[in-house]
């Protein structure tokens, strides 16, 4: 009996520690981590595949919709909503499941193969919000750090997943000198600045990474989707 109790307590303590780790990642306290801690593999697997990840996503997007509705949108007024793509509109959970739910580092070759496969599914709550924002007459702009070379497969994957209507989709032009060696935060800030100069009025912005929503020319209000995988 004693052994069972000891095991059970250790498991409980590990869940507490993994929950703290996840919260610290989501709140931008733990940054630039390479992989999910090995001891948290089971915890993260249950989190992602169970009800909590879906519920956490729904809560954020429901708040985003309340905010979006509260804005007095004038049709043709260039009211814009910016979306990130990976693990914001399209889910890569299937890929990360094959990499030990983030406990193994992302492999460039296999990840590009996954992208080129073009079978990423929509995050269901994101697709719902996307359609609701179109209904409210927001212009949608997608900014991704996927390179230009993945434009064709990405547009097709988005269309297959239900994302068919957007004013603009911006890929990272890796040949541009200004982006060489620069962070995603710098790249995305600069692209948003260009959008503003073009007349887009960025009201909302949603991403699963802090680098999607921090920086300059950010929206009036930004939303951070959960993602403990990377």
């Amino acid at each position: 009996m004693k052994t069972i109790v000891a095991f059970s307590t250790a498991h409980y303590e590990r869940n507490i520690r993994c929950s703290s780790w996840r919260l610290a990642v989501e709140t931008n306290n733990i940054i630039r981590f390479k992989t999910v801690p090995a001891k948290c593999k089971d915890y993260i697997r249950k989190y992602i595949l169970g009800k909590q990840y879906s519920a956490d996503t729904k809560e954020v997007l429901s708040e985003a919709y309340s905010y979006a509705k509260s804005i007095d949108i004038i049709k043709g007024g260039n009211y814009t909503w910016v979306f990130n793509i990976d693990d914001t509109l399209l889910s890569n959970v299937q890929y990360y499941a094959s990499r030990g739910f983030g406990t193994k580092p992302r492999n460039v070759t296999s990840f590009n193969h996954w992208i080129q496969h073009g079978k990423s599914r929509a995050l269901p709550h994101s697709l719902k919000l996307y359609n609701k924002l179109l209904g409210l007459h927001y212009k949608i702009v997608l900014i991704t750090k996927r390179p230009e070379s993945q434009r064709k497969i990405t547009v097709k994957n988005l269309r297959d997943a239900g994302y068919r209507q957007y004013a603009k989709i911006i890929f990272k032009d890796t040949t541009k000198e200004r982006y060489i060696g620069k962070t995603t935060l710098v790249y995305k800030s600069h692209e948003r600045k260009i959008l503003e100069k073009e007349g887009f009025r960025i009201i909302g912005n949603i991403g699963d990474q802090w680098s999607d929503i921090l920086g300059t020319s950010a929206s009036i209000r930004s939303f951070k989707l959960p993602n403990p995988l990377y």
Copy 2:
């Protein structure tokens, strides 16, 4: 039997929803909420009084210490760490426990009475980090939105709780016209700008509210302590 199962599922679902609510608050997705949702009272009470809140705090402060240690501090170089006070250095959990763990709105009279009582305890992990930062020769600066009128009792409470050594403590001068009707974010950003002009080099910053750590003249790296109570 059926009733019991139904009750149990409802409880489970409520915990999922309350967990999503808490995450959305911690990640700055839900903002300016007036009270904790009534249905989450029991969930938040267990979170705060159980092991998770303490573990979540410890995780953030442990990460902060790793960062603090990684900086090459030169003694006398004005390397500075900024702390918020309420629910960062001193805990008001006892007060909020009397207000239904955030489910009842803060009452100005009773909260001021609590502050004037001067019996707030240190958050144990914060006190440890505070002492470690002093050991690393950081200058400590405290910025609080408590008014000047609470200076004496606050300094005494801090001393009693173990916080005895800081370069500066800044209270909100509510008679200053620039702060009338301004947010905490504006007030704290401005005070940090003054610090910078005075030669303080802000390396780290810790608070339990996003208004403590967003804005301008922020530190190189900021840390957000958990607080689902307000």
